[in-house]
Symmetry: C2
Subunit: 264 residues, 2 copies
Protein backbone atom coordinates (compact mmCIF):
# COMPACT_ATOMS: atom_id res chain seq x y z
CA UNK A 1 0.00 0.00 0.00
CA UNK A 2 2.72 2.50 0.97
CA UNK A 3 4.49 1.79 -2.32
CA UNK A 4 1.53 3.16 -4.23
CA UNK A 5 1.65 6.52 -6.01
CA UNK A 6 -0.15 9.75 -5.15
CA UNK A 7 -2.84 10.49 -7.76
CA UNK A 8 -3.34 14.11 -8.82
CA UNK A 9 -5.90 15.38 -11.32
CA UNK A 10 -6.89 18.67 -12.88
CA UNK A 11 -8.85 19.81 -15.93
CA UNK A 12 -5.57 20.64 -17.69
CA UNK A 13 -2.14 22.08 -17.03
CA UNK A 14 -2.96 24.24 -13.96
CA UNK A 15 -2.61 21.34 -11.51
CA UNK A 16 1.03 21.01 -12.49
CA UNK A 17 1.65 23.83 -9.97
CA UNK A 18 0.34 21.41 -7.30
CA UNK A 19 2.37 18.49 -8.69
CA UNK A 20 5.48 20.68 -8.57
CA UNK A 21 4.93 21.61 -4.91
CA UNK A 22 4.20 18.00 -3.92
CA UNK A 23 7.35 16.75 -5.69
CA UNK A 24 9.39 19.32 -3.80
CA UNK A 25 7.92 18.50 -0.40
CA UNK A 26 7.72 14.72 -0.93
CA UNK A 27 10.49 13.94 -3.43
CA UNK A 28 10.51 10.21 -2.68
CA UNK A 29 6.88 9.60 -3.71
CA UNK A 30 5.70 8.34 -7.08
CA UNK A 31 3.18 10.70 -8.69
CA UNK A 32 0.45 9.99 -11.26
CA UNK A 33 -1.03 13.10 -12.88
CA UNK A 34 -4.10 13.29 -15.12
CA UNK A 35 -5.05 16.44 -17.07
CA UNK A 36 -8.54 16.16 -18.61
CA UNK A 37 -7.51 18.26 -21.61
CA UNK A 38 -10.24 16.92 -23.93
CA UNK A 39 -12.82 18.67 -21.75
CA UNK A 40 -10.85 21.57 -20.25
CA UNK A 41 -11.79 24.05 -18.76
CA UNK A 42 -13.97 23.04 -15.79
CA UNK A 43 -14.22 26.62 -14.49
CA UNK A 44 -16.97 27.81 -16.84
CA UNK A 45 -19.05 24.60 -16.65
CA UNK A 46 -21.92 23.67 -14.36
CA UNK A 47 -21.45 21.88 -11.02
CA UNK A 48 -23.23 18.77 -12.35
CA UNK A 49 -20.96 18.50 -15.40
CA UNK A 50 -17.81 19.13 -13.33
CA UNK A 51 -18.89 16.43 -10.83
CA UNK A 52 -19.27 13.91 -13.64
CA UNK A 53 -15.88 14.80 -15.16
CA UNK A 54 -14.17 14.75 -11.74
CA UNK A 55 -15.57 11.28 -10.94
CA UNK A 56 -14.33 9.99 -14.31
CA UNK A 57 -10.87 11.57 -13.88
CA UNK A 58 -10.55 10.23 -10.33
CA UNK A 59 -11.69 6.73 -11.40
CA UNK A 60 -8.87 6.58 -13.92
CA UNK A 61 -6.29 7.23 -11.16
CA UNK A 62 -7.97 5.01 -8.55
CA UNK A 63 -8.08 2.13 -11.06
CA UNK A 64 -4.31 2.43 -11.34
CA UNK A 65 -3.98 1.96 -7.59
CA UNK A 66 -3.11 5.21 -5.83
CA UNK A 67 -2.92 5.62 -2.04
CA UNK A 68 -4.19 9.20 -1.95
CA UNK A 69 -6.08 11.44 -4.35
CA UNK A 70 -5.32 15.16 -4.74
CA UNK A 71 -7.94 17.25 -6.54
CA UNK A 72 -5.56 19.83 -7.99
CA UNK A 73 -8.36 21.92 -9.47
CA UNK A 74 -10.19 24.55 -7.49
CA UNK A 75 -13.42 24.18 -9.45
CA UNK A 76 -13.55 20.40 -8.94
CA UNK A 77 -12.56 20.85 -5.27
CA UNK A 78 -15.37 23.39 -4.89
CA UNK A 79 -18.17 21.27 -6.32
CA UNK A 80 -17.12 17.60 -6.38
CA UNK A 81 -15.30 16.78 -3.12
CA UNK A 82 -18.31 15.20 -1.31
CA UNK A 83 -19.11 13.10 -4.42
CA UNK A 84 -15.46 11.93 -4.66
CA UNK A 85 -15.24 11.11 -0.94
CA UNK A 86 -18.53 9.23 -1.17
CA UNK A 87 -17.36 7.14 -4.10
CA UNK A 88 -13.76 6.21 -3.22
CA UNK A 89 -12.30 4.50 -0.13
CA UNK A 90 -9.10 6.54 0.15
CA UNK A 91 -8.10 9.99 1.42
CA UNK A 92 -9.18 12.77 -0.97
CA UNK A 93 -7.50 16.18 -0.55
CA UNK A 94 -8.84 19.27 -2.28
CA UNK A 95 -7.17 22.66 -2.66
CA UNK A 96 -9.80 24.80 -0.92
CA UNK A 97 -9.48 23.84 2.78
CA UNK A 98 -5.67 24.28 2.73
CA UNK A 99 -5.99 27.73 1.10
CA UNK A 100 -8.69 28.78 3.57
CA UNK A 101 -6.60 27.62 6.57
CA UNK A 102 -3.74 29.85 5.50
CA UNK A 103 -6.03 32.79 4.64
CA UNK A 104 -7.42 33.11 8.15
CA UNK A 105 -4.07 34.33 9.45
CA UNK A 106 -5.21 37.67 7.97
CA UNK A 107 -4.58 40.47 10.45
CA UNK A 108 -7.51 42.73 9.54
CA UNK A 109 -9.87 39.80 8.70
CA UNK A 110 -10.61 41.29 5.28
CA UNK A 111 -9.84 38.48 2.84
CA UNK A 112 -10.11 38.45 -0.94
CA UNK A 113 -10.72 35.29 -2.99
CA UNK A 114 -10.28 35.07 -6.75
CA UNK A 115 -11.09 32.06 -8.93
CA UNK A 116 -13.05 30.75 -11.90
CA UNK A 117 -16.79 31.37 -12.21
CA UNK A 118 -17.46 27.80 -11.01
CA UNK A 119 -15.33 28.20 -7.88
CA UNK A 120 -16.67 31.65 -6.97
CA UNK A 121 -20.30 30.76 -7.65
CA UNK A 122 -19.98 27.71 -5.38
CA UNK A 123 -19.22 29.95 -2.37
CA UNK A 124 -16.96 27.17 -1.01
CA UNK A 125 -13.99 29.39 -0.09
CA UNK A 126 -16.26 31.81 1.69
CA UNK A 127 -17.83 28.99 3.71
CA UNK A 128 -14.45 27.41 4.49
CA UNK A 129 -13.07 30.76 5.70
CA UNK A 130 -16.16 31.54 7.79
CA UNK A 131 -16.02 28.10 9.40
CA UNK A 132 -12.56 28.98 10.73
CA UNK A 133 -13.03 32.71 11.31
CA UNK A 134 -16.72 33.59 11.59
CA UNK A 135 -16.25 37.36 11.62
CA UNK A 136 -14.01 37.48 8.52
CA UNK A 137 -15.18 39.70 5.67
CA UNK A 138 -14.71 37.85 2.40
CA UNK A 139 -14.61 39.65 -0.97
CA UNK A 140 -14.86 37.27 -3.92
CA UNK A 141 -14.38 37.84 -7.65
CA UNK A 142 -14.41 35.56 -10.67
CA UNK A 143 -11.48 36.42 -12.97
CA UNK A 144 -12.16 34.47 -16.20
CA UNK A 145 -9.38 36.17 -18.18
CA UNK A 146 -6.55 35.09 -15.86
CA UNK A 147 -6.49 31.46 -17.10
CA UNK A 148 -6.15 32.34 -20.81
CA UNK A 149 -3.61 35.07 -19.95
CA UNK A 150 -1.46 32.56 -18.03
CA UNK A 151 -1.77 29.99 -20.83
CA UNK A 152 -0.84 32.60 -23.43
CA UNK A 153 2.39 33.30 -21.52
CA UNK A 154 1.20 36.88 -20.85
CA UNK A 155 1.22 36.65 -17.05
CA UNK A 156 3.48 39.69 -16.76
CA UNK A 157 2.26 41.54 -19.85
CA UNK A 158 0.71 45.01 -19.62
CA UNK A 159 -2.61 43.39 -20.63
CA UNK A 160 -2.45 41.20 -17.51
CA UNK A 161 -1.67 44.20 -15.31
CA UNK A 162 -4.61 46.18 -16.70
CA UNK A 163 -6.94 43.17 -16.36
CA UNK A 164 -5.84 42.59 -12.76
CA UNK A 165 -6.32 46.29 -11.94
CA UNK A 166 -9.92 46.06 -13.16
CA UNK A 167 -10.78 42.79 -11.42
CA UNK A 168 -9.12 43.73 -8.12
CA UNK A 169 -10.30 47.35 -7.80
CA UNK A 170 -13.20 46.47 -5.43
CA UNK A 171 -10.77 44.49 -3.22
CA UNK A 172 -8.29 47.36 -3.09
CA UNK A 173 -11.14 49.64 -2.05
CA UNK A 174 -12.17 47.09 0.59
CA UNK A 175 -8.59 47.14 1.95
CA UNK A 176 -8.07 43.38 2.01
CA UNK A 177 -4.75 42.29 3.52
CA UNK A 178 -4.87 38.72 2.16
CA UNK A 179 -5.77 37.38 -1.27
CA UNK A 180 -6.39 33.68 -1.93
CA UNK A 181 -5.30 32.59 -5.42
CA UNK A 182 -8.22 30.19 -5.84
CA UNK A 183 -7.19 28.72 -9.18
CA UNK A 184 -4.07 26.67 -9.89
CA UNK A 185 -3.22 28.92 -12.84
CA UNK A 186 -2.95 32.05 -10.73
CA UNK A 187 0.48 31.49 -9.11
CA UNK A 188 1.89 32.36 -12.56
CA UNK A 189 0.37 35.83 -12.18
CA UNK A 190 1.83 36.32 -8.67
CA UNK A 191 4.18 39.18 -9.59
CA UNK A 192 1.49 41.07 -11.49
CA UNK A 193 -1.06 40.64 -8.70
CA UNK A 194 1.41 41.74 -6.05
CA UNK A 195 2.29 44.80 -8.12
CA UNK A 196 -1.38 45.78 -8.52
CA UNK A 197 -2.29 45.14 -4.86
CA UNK A 198 0.87 46.50 -3.25
CA UNK A 199 3.31 44.76 -0.90
CA UNK A 200 1.02 44.96 2.15
CA UNK A 201 -1.27 42.23 0.75
CA UNK A 202 -0.30 38.59 1.43
CA UNK A 203 -0.98 36.22 -1.48
CA UNK A 204 -2.07 32.71 -0.51
CA UNK A 205 -1.09 30.06 -3.03
CA UNK A 206 -3.48 27.11 -2.73
CA UNK A 207 -1.05 24.83 -4.59
CA UNK A 208 1.72 25.29 -2.01
CA UNK A 209 -0.73 25.03 0.93
CA UNK A 210 -2.17 21.81 -0.50
CA UNK A 211 1.29 20.27 -0.74
CA UNK A 212 1.87 21.18 2.94
CA UNK A 213 -1.43 19.51 3.86
CA UNK A 214 -0.47 16.35 1.97
CA UNK A 215 2.98 16.28 3.60
CA UNK A 216 1.45 16.75 7.08
CA UNK A 217 -1.04 13.92 6.46
CA UNK A 218 1.82 11.67 5.36
CA UNK A 219 3.68 12.34 8.59
CA UNK A 220 0.61 11.89 10.82
CA UNK A 221 -0.70 8.74 9.18
CA UNK A 222 2.64 7.15 8.26
CA UNK A 223 1.75 7.12 4.55
CA UNK A 224 5.28 7.79 3.25
CA UNK A 225 6.92 5.38 0.87
CA UNK A 226 9.45 3.20 2.70
CA UNK A 227 12.16 3.55 0.04
CA UNK A 228 12.78 6.22 -2.53
CA UNK A 229 10.63 6.20 -5.67
CA UNK A 230 10.16 9.63 -7.20
CA UNK A 231 8.81 8.45 -10.56
CA UNK A 232 6.33 10.70 -12.30
CA UNK A 233 3.72 9.63 -14.92
CA UNK A 234 1.63 12.19 -16.75
CA UNK A 235 -1.59 11.39 -18.66
CA UNK A 236 -3.91 13.64 -20.67
CA UNK A 237 -7.22 13.03 -22.45
CA UNK A 238 -6.41 14.99 -25.64
CA UNK A 239 -3.35 14.89 -27.91
CA UNK A 240 -0.43 16.01 -25.64
CA UNK A 241 1.17 18.62 -27.97
CA UNK A 242 -0.40 21.74 -26.47
CA UNK A 243 -0.19 20.40 -22.90
CA UNK A 244 3.53 19.80 -23.31
CA UNK A 245 4.11 23.27 -24.72
CA UNK A 246 2.04 25.16 -22.13
CA UNK A 247 2.84 22.82 -19.21
CA UNK A 248 6.50 23.70 -19.26
CA UNK A 249 5.72 27.20 -17.94
CA UNK A 250 3.72 25.72 -15.05
CA UNK A 251 6.23 23.09 -13.99
CA UNK A 252 9.39 25.09 -14.64
CA UNK A 253 11.14 21.99 -15.99
CA UNK A 254 10.70 19.20 -18.55
CA UNK A 255 7.48 17.21 -18.21
CA UNK A 256 8.91 13.98 -19.59
CA UNK A 257 6.71 11.59 -21.55
CA UNK A 258 3.02 12.51 -21.63
CA UNK A 259 0.60 9.73 -22.57
CA UNK A 260 -2.87 10.19 -24.06
CA UNK A 261 -5.68 8.10 -22.54
CA UNK A 262 -9.47 7.80 -22.91
CA UNK A 263 -11.70 8.23 -19.88
CA UNK A 264 -15.45 8.55 -19.32
CA UNK B 1 -38.28 17.49 -46.83
CA UNK B 2 -38.54 21.24 -47.49
CA UNK B 3 -40.44 21.60 -44.21
CA UNK B 4 -37.41 20.43 -42.29
CA UNK B 5 -35.28 22.79 -40.21
CA UNK B 6 -31.75 23.99 -40.86
CA UNK B 7 -29.35 22.47 -38.30
CA UNK B 8 -26.56 24.68 -36.94
CA UNK B 9 -23.93 23.66 -34.40
CA UNK B 10 -21.00 25.23 -32.61
CA UNK B 11 -18.91 24.48 -29.55
CA UNK B 12 -20.79 27.13 -27.60
CA UNK B 13 -22.32 30.57 -27.99
CA UNK B 14 -20.16 31.86 -30.89
CA UNK B 15 -22.29 30.20 -33.57
CA UNK B 16 -25.23 32.36 -32.49
CA UNK B 17 -23.69 35.05 -34.73
CA UNK B 18 -24.28 32.64 -37.65
CA UNK B 19 -27.79 31.77 -36.45
CA UNK B 20 -28.59 35.48 -36.25
CA UNK B 21 -27.43 36.13 -39.83
CA UNK B 22 -29.31 33.08 -41.19
CA UNK B 23 -32.52 34.15 -39.41
CA UNK B 24 -32.21 37.59 -40.97
CA UNK B 25 -31.57 36.30 -44.50
CA UNK B 26 -34.00 33.36 -44.32
CA UNK B 27 -36.64 34.46 -41.80
CA UNK B 28 -39.14 31.80 -42.89
CA UNK B 29 -36.95 28.81 -42.06
CA UNK B 30 -37.05 26.77 -38.86
CA UNK B 31 -33.66 26.63 -37.15
CA UNK B 32 -32.23 24.04 -34.73
CA UNK B 33 -29.10 25.15 -32.89
CA UNK B 34 -26.80 23.00 -30.76
CA UNK B 35 -24.02 24.48 -28.57
CA UNK B 36 -21.70 21.77 -27.18
CA UNK B 37 -21.14 23.73 -23.97
CA UNK B 38 -20.13 20.70 -21.89
CA UNK B 39 -16.97 20.43 -24.00
CA UNK B 40 -16.40 24.01 -25.13
CA UNK B 41 -13.98 25.31 -26.43
CA UNK B 42 -12.94 23.37 -29.53
CA UNK B 43 -10.29 25.93 -30.52
CA UNK B 44 -7.55 24.72 -28.17
CA UNK B 45 -8.18 21.00 -28.74
CA UNK B 46 -6.63 18.58 -31.22
CA UNK B 47 -8.06 17.88 -34.68
CA UNK B 48 -8.91 14.28 -33.71
CA UNK B 49 -10.87 15.35 -30.63
CA UNK B 50 -12.69 18.13 -32.51
CA UNK B 51 -13.65 15.66 -35.29
CA UNK B 52 -15.18 13.29 -32.73
CA UNK B 53 -17.10 16.12 -31.01
CA UNK B 54 -18.29 17.55 -34.36
CA UNK B 55 -19.59 14.15 -35.52
CA UNK B 56 -21.49 13.73 -32.24
CA UNK B 57 -22.94 17.26 -32.40
CA UNK B 58 -23.96 16.84 -36.04
CA UNK B 59 -25.54 13.42 -35.34
CA UNK B 60 -27.79 14.99 -32.74
CA UNK B 61 -29.15 17.46 -35.32
CA UNK B 62 -29.34 14.94 -38.19
CA UNK B 63 -31.31 12.52 -35.95
CA UNK B 64 -33.88 15.29 -35.49
CA UNK B 65 -34.30 15.50 -39.27
CA UNK B 66 -32.67 18.61 -40.71
CA UNK B 67 -32.40 19.41 -44.41
CA UNK B 68 -29.03 21.16 -44.24
CA UNK B 69 -26.21 21.28 -41.72
CA UNK B 70 -24.26 24.47 -40.96
CA UNK B 71 -20.99 24.06 -39.08
CA UNK B 72 -21.04 27.44 -37.32
CA UNK B 73 -17.62 26.93 -35.74
CA UNK B 74 -14.43 27.79 -37.54
CA UNK B 75 -12.36 25.16 -35.75
CA UNK B 76 -14.80 22.36 -36.60
CA UNK B 77 -15.11 23.68 -40.19
CA UNK B 78 -11.30 23.67 -40.43
CA UNK B 79 -10.74 20.11 -39.29
CA UNK B 80 -14.00 18.13 -39.53
CA UNK B 81 -15.76 19.06 -42.79
CA UNK B 82 -14.58 16.04 -44.83
CA UNK B 83 -15.52 13.68 -41.97
CA UNK B 84 -18.98 15.26 -41.70
CA UNK B 85 -19.59 15.16 -45.46
CA UNK B 86 -18.45 11.53 -45.51
CA UNK B 87 -20.84 10.55 -42.74
CA UNK B 88 -24.07 12.39 -43.59
CA UNK B 89 -26.21 12.42 -46.77
CA UNK B 90 -27.16 16.10 -46.76
CA UNK B 91 -25.50 19.40 -47.68
CA UNK B 92 -22.93 20.47 -45.08
CA UNK B 93 -21.83 24.13 -45.14
CA UNK B 94 -18.79 25.31 -43.17
CA UNK B 95 -17.76 28.90 -42.42
CA UNK B 96 -14.31 28.83 -44.05
CA UNK B 97 -15.07 28.71 -47.81
CA UNK B 98 -17.57 31.59 -47.57
CA UNK B 99 -15.07 33.73 -45.67
CA UNK B 100 -12.27 32.91 -48.12
CA UNK B 101 -14.49 33.76 -51.14
CA UNK B 102 -15.12 37.23 -49.77
CA UNK B 103 -11.48 37.75 -48.72
CA UNK B 104 -10.12 37.35 -52.24
CA UNK B 105 -11.70 40.63 -53.32
CA UNK B 106 -8.65 42.16 -51.58
CA UNK B 107 -7.12 44.87 -53.76
CA UNK B 108 -3.49 44.44 -52.73
CA UNK B 109 -3.77 40.67 -52.24
CA UNK B 110 -2.35 40.92 -48.75
CA UNK B 111 -4.87 39.15 -46.55
CA UNK B 112 -4.83 38.60 -42.80
CA UNK B 113 -6.60 35.69 -41.07
CA UNK B 114 -7.21 35.49 -37.32
CA UNK B 115 -8.73 32.54 -35.47
CA UNK B 116 -8.27 29.99 -32.71
CA UNK B 117 -5.12 27.89 -32.47
CA UNK B 118 -6.98 24.93 -34.02
CA UNK B 119 -8.18 26.95 -37.02
CA UNK B 120 -4.84 28.66 -37.66
CA UNK B 121 -2.78 25.48 -37.19
CA UNK B 122 -5.00 23.67 -39.72
CA UNK B 123 -3.93 26.10 -42.49
CA UNK B 124 -7.43 25.73 -44.00
CA UNK B 125 -8.10 29.42 -44.60
CA UNK B 126 -4.72 29.83 -46.24
CA UNK B 127 -5.40 26.90 -48.58
CA UNK B 128 -8.95 28.08 -49.36
CA UNK B 129 -7.65 31.58 -50.21
CA UNK B 130 -4.79 30.25 -52.34
CA UNK B 131 -7.15 27.96 -54.24
CA UNK B 132 -9.05 31.09 -55.36
CA UNK B 133 -6.17 33.56 -55.60
CA UNK B 134 -2.85 31.73 -55.93
CA UNK B 135 -0.63 34.80 -55.60
CA UNK B 136 -2.29 36.12 -52.44
CA UNK B 137 -0.03 36.69 -49.46
CA UNK B 138 -1.74 35.36 -46.35
CA UNK B 139 -0.72 36.43 -42.83
CA UNK B 140 -2.24 34.27 -40.10
CA UNK B 141 -2.34 34.66 -36.35
CA UNK B 142 -3.98 32.71 -33.54
CA UNK B 143 -5.63 35.09 -31.06
CA UNK B 144 -6.55 32.92 -28.06
CA UNK B 145 -7.53 35.84 -25.83
CA UNK B 146 -10.27 37.18 -28.11
CA UNK B 147 -12.81 34.47 -27.23
CA UNK B 148 -12.58 34.99 -23.45
CA UNK B 149 -12.58 38.78 -23.96
CA UNK B 150 -15.78 38.57 -26.03
CA UNK B 151 -17.41 36.23 -23.49
CA UNK B 152 -16.41 38.53 -20.61
CA UNK B 153 -18.25 41.40 -22.33
CA UNK B 154 -14.94 43.27 -22.72
CA UNK B 155 -14.96 43.46 -26.53
CA UNK B 156 -14.55 47.23 -26.45
CA UNK B 157 -12.52 47.49 -23.25
CA UNK B 158 -9.03 48.99 -23.22
CA UNK B 159 -7.71 45.48 -22.48
CA UNK B 160 -9.20 44.25 -25.77
CA UNK B 161 -7.67 47.18 -27.66
CA UNK B 162 -4.21 46.53 -26.22
CA UNK B 163 -4.51 42.79 -26.91
CA UNK B 164 -5.60 43.44 -30.50
CA UNK B 165 -2.72 45.88 -31.01
CA UNK B 166 -0.26 43.19 -29.94
CA UNK B 167 -1.77 40.37 -32.01
CA UNK B 168 -2.25 42.48 -35.13
CA UNK B 169 1.07 44.35 -35.16
CA UNK B 170 2.70 41.97 -37.72
CA UNK B 171 -0.34 42.38 -40.02
CA UNK B 172 -0.24 46.15 -39.78
CA UNK B 173 3.44 46.00 -40.71
CA UNK B 174 2.59 43.67 -43.60
CA UNK B 175 0.02 46.24 -44.84
CA UNK B 176 -2.90 43.86 -45.20
CA UNK B 177 -6.02 45.45 -46.69
CA UNK B 178 -8.40 42.63 -45.67
CA UNK B 179 -8.77 40.73 -42.40
CA UNK B 180 -10.84 37.54 -42.11
CA UNK B 181 -12.52 37.17 -38.70
CA UNK B 182 -11.99 33.41 -38.61
CA UNK B 183 -13.87 32.72 -35.39
CA UNK B 184 -17.57 33.27 -34.75
CA UNK B 185 -16.78 35.22 -31.58
CA UNK B 186 -14.79 37.88 -33.37
CA UNK B 187 -17.62 39.94 -34.92
CA UNK B 188 -18.21 41.21 -31.37
CA UNK B 189 -14.71 42.75 -31.49
CA UNK B 190 -15.33 44.42 -34.86
CA UNK B 191 -15.15 48.02 -33.61
CA UNK B 192 -11.97 47.40 -31.63
CA UNK B 193 -10.28 45.61 -34.53
CA UNK B 194 -11.26 48.34 -36.99
CA UNK B 195 -9.91 50.98 -34.62
CA UNK B 196 -6.57 49.18 -34.26
CA UNK B 197 -6.20 48.43 -37.99
CA UNK B 198 -7.55 51.70 -39.37
CA UNK B 199 -10.44 52.31 -41.79
CA UNK B 200 -8.50 51.16 -44.88
CA UNK B 201 -8.72 47.50 -43.82
CA UNK B 202 -11.87 45.55 -44.77
CA UNK B 203 -13.09 43.10 -42.13
CA UNK B 204 -14.63 39.89 -43.46
CA UNK B 205 -17.23 38.38 -41.15
CA UNK B 206 -17.45 34.65 -41.80
CA UNK B 207 -20.83 34.45 -40.07
CA UNK B 208 -22.47 36.90 -42.50
CA UNK B 209 -20.75 35.31 -45.53
CA UNK B 210 -21.92 31.86 -44.47
CA UNK B 211 -25.52 33.05 -44.24
CA UNK B 212 -25.19 34.46 -47.79
CA UNK B 213 -23.87 31.08 -48.98
CA UNK B 214 -26.78 29.25 -47.35
CA UNK B 215 -29.30 31.71 -48.85
CA UNK B 216 -27.73 31.33 -52.33
CA UNK B 217 -27.85 27.52 -52.06
CA UNK B 218 -31.51 27.70 -51.06
CA UNK B 219 -32.31 29.79 -54.15
CA UNK B 220 -30.29 27.57 -56.53
CA UNK B 221 -31.52 24.24 -55.22
CA UNK B 222 -35.07 25.27 -54.32
CA UNK B 223 -34.58 24.27 -50.67
CA UNK B 224 -36.74 27.03 -49.18
CA UNK B 225 -39.69 26.16 -46.98
CA UNK B 226 -42.98 26.46 -48.91
CA UNK B 227 -44.79 28.32 -46.14
CA UNK B 228 -43.54 30.48 -43.32
CA UNK B 229 -42.07 28.69 -40.29
CA UNK B 230 -39.45 30.71 -38.46
CA UNK B 231 -39.38 28.63 -35.26
CA UNK B 232 -36.11 28.42 -33.40
CA UNK B 233 -35.00 25.65 -31.00
CA UNK B 234 -31.78 25.94 -29.04
CA UNK B 235 -30.03 23.01 -27.33
CA UNK B 236 -26.88 22.89 -25.21
CA UNK B 237 -24.93 20.03 -23.61
CA UNK B 238 -24.30 21.71 -20.24
CA UNK B 239 -26.69 23.51 -17.87
CA UNK B 240 -28.00 26.49 -19.92
CA UNK B 241 -27.48 29.28 -17.30
CA UNK B 242 -24.16 30.61 -18.57
CA UNK B 243 -25.10 30.12 -22.24
CA UNK B 244 -28.28 32.17 -21.74
CA UNK B 245 -26.38 34.96 -19.99
CA UNK B 246 -23.49 35.17 -22.49
CA UNK B 247 -25.55 34.28 -25.58
CA UNK B 248 -27.64 37.38 -25.30
CA UNK B 249 -24.66 39.53 -26.34
CA UNK B 250 -24.11 37.37 -29.42
CA UNK B 251 -27.69 37.25 -30.61
CA UNK B 252 -28.68 40.80 -29.66
CA UNK B 253 -32.12 39.60 -28.55
CA UNK B 254 -33.77 37.05 -26.29
CA UNK B 255 -32.76 33.43 -26.92
CA UNK B 256 -36.04 31.92 -25.80
CA UNK B 257 -36.09 28.50 -24.14
CA UNK B 258 -32.76 26.67 -24.11
CA UNK B 259 -32.90 22.91 -23.49
CA UNK B 260 -30.09 20.77 -22.10
CA UNK B 261 -29.40 17.47 -23.91
CA UNK B 262 -26.84 14.67 -23.70
CA UNK B 263 -24.79 13.74 -26.75
CA UNK B 264 -21.79 11.49 -27.42
Amino acid sequence: MLHRAIGIFDSGVGGLTVLKEISEQLPGEDLLYLGDTARVPYGTKSAATVQQYALESASFLVDRGVKLLVVACNTASAVALPALRGRFQLPVIGVIEPGARRAVSSRNRRIGVIGTEGTINSGRYERAIHALLPDAQVFSAACPLFVPLAEEGWAEHEVARLTAAEYLQPMIEAQIDTLVLGCTHYPLLRRTLQQVLGPQVTLVDSAAETACTVAALFREQGLARPEHGGRRSVFVTDVPTRFERVGWGFLGCELGKVEQVRIG
